[in-house]
């Protein structure tokens, strides 16, 4: 019984930390609300889609910025998509970099774009690791016989 409480405490604390550090925003809570017994893996499923989508977009962006002649409209379109999906799951820091990225696109500022690509890759990598840790903690709670204390 104690271990369950401890694990739950760990999960709650870790989640709070992610919110405090701006990795996640309220939209993540919204997703938690959509999860129930009939759809117990909803959040993991959506976040997994986000991971797949983001990796594809980051690859496209890297390719686009390596071209001889830069297609800023294409880059903007990709960043817009990434901004959208990160916003839909509450990945706030990724979303924020995307906003700056789009501004550089509009200015046709190649250096700014390259800087942003690096930044968004970093932020994506960070939030991916953190979400994977979060899901692992959830699994530990469930395996120990506890329940997930969502929404917070």
């Amino acid at each position: 019984m104690d271990s369950v409480v401890l694990l739950q405490r760990q999960l709650v604390d870790y989640t709070a930390q992610l919110f405090n550090e701006g990795f996640l925003d309220d939209q993540f809570n919204q997703l938690q609300q959509l999860q129930d017994e009939s759809n117990p893996d909803f959040v993991v499923e959506v976040v997994t889609l986000f991971f797949e989508d983001s990796e594809r977009l980051l690859n496209e962006l890297a390719k686009a910025l390596e071209q001889q002649s830069i297609d800023y409209r294409k880059i903007d379109a990709h960043v817009h998509q990434l901004k959208g999906s990160s916003s839909s799951i509450g990945a706030q820091r990724v979303q924020k970099v995307c906003i700056a990225f789009r501004n550089y696109c509009e200015e046709r500022n190649i250096e700014g774009c390259q800087k942003c690509l690096q930044q968004v890759k970093n932020e994506y990598s960070l939030v991916k690791t953190k979400l994977e840790t979060l899901f692992k903690l959830e699994q530990q709670v469930l395996s120990a016989g506890g329940s997930i204390p969502w929404p917070m």
């Binding site: 959506v46 989508d53 839909s88 799951i89 509450g90």
Partner: protein
């Protein structure tokens, strides 16, 4: 006007499209359930909107583009398509920014159609651009909501649609009439003229 065969072909097309795009059955009482057609090019957003609608007790059909939406509705130029009554879509929710056909272009096509113009269309967009919002509302959109879409947005929209069932929307009139209207109008005038000449 349609031969039995053509109507059947339309049915089969509709059914195979339905299987392809994934119609999700909501709760019981099919006749009172809101059937929503959701259109979005984003995988993530499609999953989220589908869940938002299902959890709000709506029947949902999700497609990934405006052209697929028109196909589903039978507005893609296929004259053999079955009429509106068979489909019973109560609401269309579409993303604004989509490759190919934007949500605005989809809205226009729907409002130009005599069969579907009465269906409320809600535009979803991550961008809060006033001129864009105005344009959509002027074209007859029910609402323009900002993404990310929340459960409270869906609940509110559902209440509006179901609440306003008896009365047609007066505050937003569709200014443009469809081509079908003009044809019908012309035919009526000609018919009346013929009748009048006949009487003389």
């Amino acid at each position: 006007m349609f031969s039995g065969d053509m109507a059947t072909a339309g049915e089969i097309l509709r059914r195979s499209l339905t299987d392809e795009v994934g119609v999700s059955k909501g709760s019981v009482s099919g006749s009172e359930e809101l059937h929503v057609l959701a259109v979005d090019d984003s995988f993530v957003d499609r999953k989220v909107i589908e869940r938002l609608l299902k959890i709000s007790s709506c029947k949902v059909t999700v497609v990934e583009s405006g052209s697929r939406a028109l196909q589903y509705l039978g507005l893609d130029g296929e004259k053999s398509s079955v009429g509106f009554n068979d489909l019973k879509i109560n609401l269309i929710m579409t993303d604004y920014s989509m490759p190919g056909m934007t949500g605005y272009e989809l809205l226009k096509k729907i409002k130009e159609s005599s069969a579907f113009r009465e269906i409320p269309v809600v535009i979803m967009s991550s961008e809060n651009i006033l001129t864009r919002i105005d344009r959509c509302l002027e074209e007859g959109a029910e609402e323009y909501i900002l993404k990310p879409v929340k459960l409270s947005d869906v609940k509110r929209i559902k209440d509006v649609i179901m609440g306003g069932d008896g009365k047609q929307k007066k505050r937003r009139s569709v200014r443009k009439r469809g081509r079908e209207d003009r044809n019908l109008f012309t035919i009526t005038i000609v018919a009346c003229t013929v009748i009048l000449i006949d009487c003389v």
